[in-house]
Amino acid sequence: MILGAVHFPPIEDVIEWPAFLFKDSDLLAFNKIALIHFLSLVIPTIVFLVGSRGDGLVPRGARTVAEGVVNFVDTQIIQAAIGHDGRKYMPLLTSFFLFVFFGNITEVIPFFQMPANARMAGPLVLALTAWAMFISVGLRHHGLGYLKEVAFPPGVPKALYLLVTPIEILSTFFVRPFSHAVRLFANMLAGHILLVTFSVLCISVWGASALIIVEIGTFPGLVAFTAFEVGVSLIQAFVFTILAAVYIGGALHPAH
């Protein structure tokens, strides 16, 4: 068989990382995923702390980056999905965006080469945070009327409530956090497996004398897909954040 030399590693080798710190403890065990999460918490914090110094009349250095991110979140996400009264959710949404983006971009950074969001725990916690946030926003602004708005959307013929109400309750309160998390998780896992597949193909055919001709196809493929994954990282961070904003906006103005 011509591809007999290609050995694809089992999935555990690709996404599971051994702990390298506090190995004996169940609670404190620290592996690559935890390191990425830690860094994606610390790096934006430092950038924003450094950027917030000075009067900022002439933005330079870290301040340019911080203002660029805040401006992007404001114009592209908050104004588009919530409206002018959405500015107070800026800290949450900016944190989501940066945390998800750093968790994704490690997919293509050498020595990491693993998106932290390809493990379900990270996206799930973020999605549950967004879920708790939009429910509490709805309850706070509309009281128990929010639940009524969700279960009985106005403008629907009376008889259809028999069908609409269970679907709306299920999709808003139960399916939403799940689909929100799975969207990010599955995208990053798929991208990671794609890159692993192309890397394995490249490495396996390198040693084989006649098969090296396949490298003409696989190596440019690997490079192209790495570039593609940079775009995917950015778009998935954007999509995750804008969906959180849409959910919050929906709870804030339930009528539309």
């Binding site: 999935i11 588009a80 799975v182 599955a186 798929a190 999509v239 969906l243």
Partner: protein
């Protein structure tokens, strides 16, 4: 042992093997079938968005945001197919 019994013993096919084979072929089909609908959907969606942006370039920003939202919702189906593939293939 009769020829028939010998043949049966040689081609014995355990339940675990049957399950593995069914899972392997099901995994491939799960993703392939799950990709059809979202493929058509995203193609149609982006095509219409490009048309909207070409007709009214000043609304490109709004259309783009809405387009990404629509893609995210459509794509979820394909991603669930991918998760089913992973579950069947590796779990």
């Amino acid at each position: 042992m009769s020829t028939l019994a010998q043949l049966a013993a040689e081609t014995a096919y355990t339940a675990a093997e049957a399950k593995n084979n069914a899972a392997a072929s099901g995994a491939g089909m799960a993703y392939g079938l799950a990709a059809i609908g979202p493929g058509i959907g995203i193609g149609y969606l982006v095509g219409q968005a490009v048309q909207a942006m070409a007709r009214q370039p000043e609304s490109a920003g709004t259309v783009q945001t809405t387009m990404f939202l629509g893609i995210a919702f459509t794509e979820a189906l394909a991603l669930i197919g991918f998760v089913v593939f992973i579950l069947l293939k590796f779990v």
